[in-house]
Symmetry: C2
Subunit: 397 residues, 2 copies
């Protein structure tokens, strides 16, 4: 028997001890981390721009509006999921660094669709370790140059290739199963689900960086082509090109301070989950984030959450604690004191996977400034929430 198997059987006998272990949380080195600059390309189909063009554009814009120069950047952390498959380009960290005159230390983070937020999380660790004072965190993806079949297969890299890919699942298929089960367990109706994408499109109509700025009628969702029953095309976030960059610093200040950055994981394959209608990594990351920021959920004014499929939006509302189990849709149908995906979310902004987690933080920043609110939250996950990262941003005027 392997040691891991040994430990597993031991663990089953001592789950009590395990929970005690879980609750003895680490406190980390405290440093004030400020979001001092940000920039993005509009998300969309950018056939005239290469991966490097997208990187350059987001990087330039972020430096342009930061109170530092390019030479103040101590490190570059790049988030990218699919470069090898879509552009035959790995080593995207070094590539981004090489666009700066002093070529600072660089690396690339990949955590499927959570790559962007995990890159931000990694930057926090480097800043707290004082190995860097100012870090440019960049996310990029160039997805539209390959066929739908190729990109669907590429995205399945986020799943467990031994358990999920062999039976022929795709991510629309996985979330289709999740939606079916959710409807069975909680009685959600197809026409209720329509409201999610319609709301995201409505929000995106006010966002110049969104891929889809045209409002859609709720009923058009279920009359759009069926992708994976019960999910239709307009339930799914699109394939997009785009890049987004944030500059985080402990040296330069701004009114926007990161109050929490947390990471949690779960089984990669949905076949290894106890439930597929709730994502434990979201719950864990959120709980740790509230503790890290020393705030309550009610203090959060604006939320950007990971609506890769309409059903995910419903589940997120519950896992993030803004709705009771089975009532997630009410965040979209009833008035709320919180704002959800005011940017248009992944559905309408587009979802260039490596860039999404970083774009969310940029949007939270904008929304806090616009509404003059104090706390905003970004929630980004990879796969069927096998990796989840939560960030809390504070705006102090």
């Amino acid at each position: 028997m392997s040691p891991t198997a040994n430990i597993l059987s031991w663990y089953n006998l001592t789950s009590n001890l395990y929970y005690r272990y879980q609750s003895s949380e680490l406190t980390h080195v405290q440093r004030d981390i400020f979001l001092i600059g940000s920039g993005q390309t509009r998300f969309g189909e950018w056939w005239h721009m290469s991966l490097q063009d997208l990187v350059q554009k987001a990087m330039d814009t972020s430096i342009e509006n930061a109170p530092c120069t390019a030479l103040d950047i101590d490190m570059v952390i790049t988030a990218n999921m699919l470069g090898e498959l879509t552009n035959n380009q790995a080593h995207v960290g070094a590539l981004a660094s090489a666009l700066l005159p002093h070529k600072p230390p660089a690396l690339r983070i990949e955590a499927a669709c959570a790559s962007g937020s995990v890159a931000l999380h990694t930057a926090c660790a480097f800043l707290e370790s004082e190995r860097a004072e100012t870090i440019l965190v960049l996310g990029v993806e160039k997805m539209t140059d390959v066929s739908s079949e190729q990109i669907t297969r590429a995205l399945m890299g986020a799943s467990d290739n031994e358990k999920d890919q062999v039976p022929g699942l795709t991510f629309p298929g996985i979330f289709g199963l999740i939606a079916k089960r959710y409807m069975y367990e909680y009685g959600l109706k197809r026409e209720e689900l329509n409201i999610v994408s319609a709301r995201h499109h409505e929000n995106a109509s006010k966002n110049p960086n969104a891929q889809f700025r045209s409002p859609i009628a709720p009923e058009s969702v279920e009359t759009s082509p069926l992708v994976a029953d019960p999910l239709h095309m307009l339930d799914c976030s699109p394939i997009s090109d785009g890049a987004a960059a944030c500059i985080l610093s402990t040296k330069y200040k701004s009114p926007f301070q990161l109050r929490a950055s947390t990471l949690a994981n779960d089984a990669v394959s949905i076949t290894d989950r106890e439930s597929i209608t709730s994502f434990s990594a979201t719950k864990e990351a959120l709980e740790k984030a509230l503790k890290e920021a020393c705030i309550r959920r009610e203090d959060i004014a604006t939320i950007e959450h990971h609506d890769c499929f309409s059903i995910a939006a419903v589940i997120n509302m519950e896992d993030l604690g803004f709705a009771d189990k089975g009532k997630g849709i009410e965040c979209y149908t009833k008035p709320s004191s919180h704002t959800f995906n005011a940017s248009g979310g992944l559905k309408a902004c587009g979802h260039p996977v490596g860039a999404t987690g970083i774009k969310q933080l940029i949007d939270v920043r904008k929304q806090l400034e616009h509404s003059q609110s104090r706390y905003g939250l970004a929630h980004n996950f990879g796969g069927a929430c096998a990796t989840c990262c939560v960030h809390i941003l504070e705006y102090t005027v």
Copy 2:
């Protein structure tokens, strides 16, 4: 003009200021980081093992010989370069975490062939930030399931796809150009270069984890098939499957302490370099590492360095300061008080790219213990040294 372009022209006018910037180095949070456990698969062609099998094997072995249990692992950092292309598997961080009962926070690092050491470097930042006390750092690659053409193309992801891939370069081609130029500049002879691979094979004959344990005659190198003039097949590190894992901890102790972990970058394309017969990222990472460890180069007893091609070994000797410029080969032809690639190096141990940087640290540990020496160094780079990481390990009896 873009801001970066602006800054570039300004930088050309003020290079003096730039060098002052470079010399004002950060000091980071000081924590004692111990290597408390390690394990690896033998490198080779493992057609009967999947990517996940390799991960499981290395992980189990490392936990088995550590003074902690699996539940003490606060985080998993996985290094992998080619999973998407060779196994349609991204999200390898989450996949490794899911093999542990408590599924700790996880991410994947990619920095081409330097992925392993950059993962170790990232682990140091997380440990210093106190976001984790014990981290399992794992490197894995499964390269032999695809054709030579596919893997050669996949590895070119480490280059700049706009500058190096378009003219049809391959990595043997890039290092062939480097070797040609080196021979022209410094008069190195083809028969001298033979000695490098012969020595690595000789060393590997004593290493049970090496892919190639058979000694080779020096002259067999230049009679092996020509790959990219002047480099022959036996000048090149092989295509390999393998995994390696190290457990780093600030909580649990061992006689092996990480004294330095440094990262440096350079232009990705060799067309953007001032010289192709010296790698500035190696020099920078080494200099920073000696400073971080507060030791002199002479204090280092054993060195594992990145000999992806025989010519790289020669250049490394010079860039690491163990030979004068043009005399790197003498480290292989003359007696030395240092040990170089006693494991057999990439050439004879094999080079499953994501695992290499981690395997180097494991070998340095073994060599220090065996020789009862104090300091050892691991030098790992990606592409044509666009990313370079140096680690210094101290053995205290």
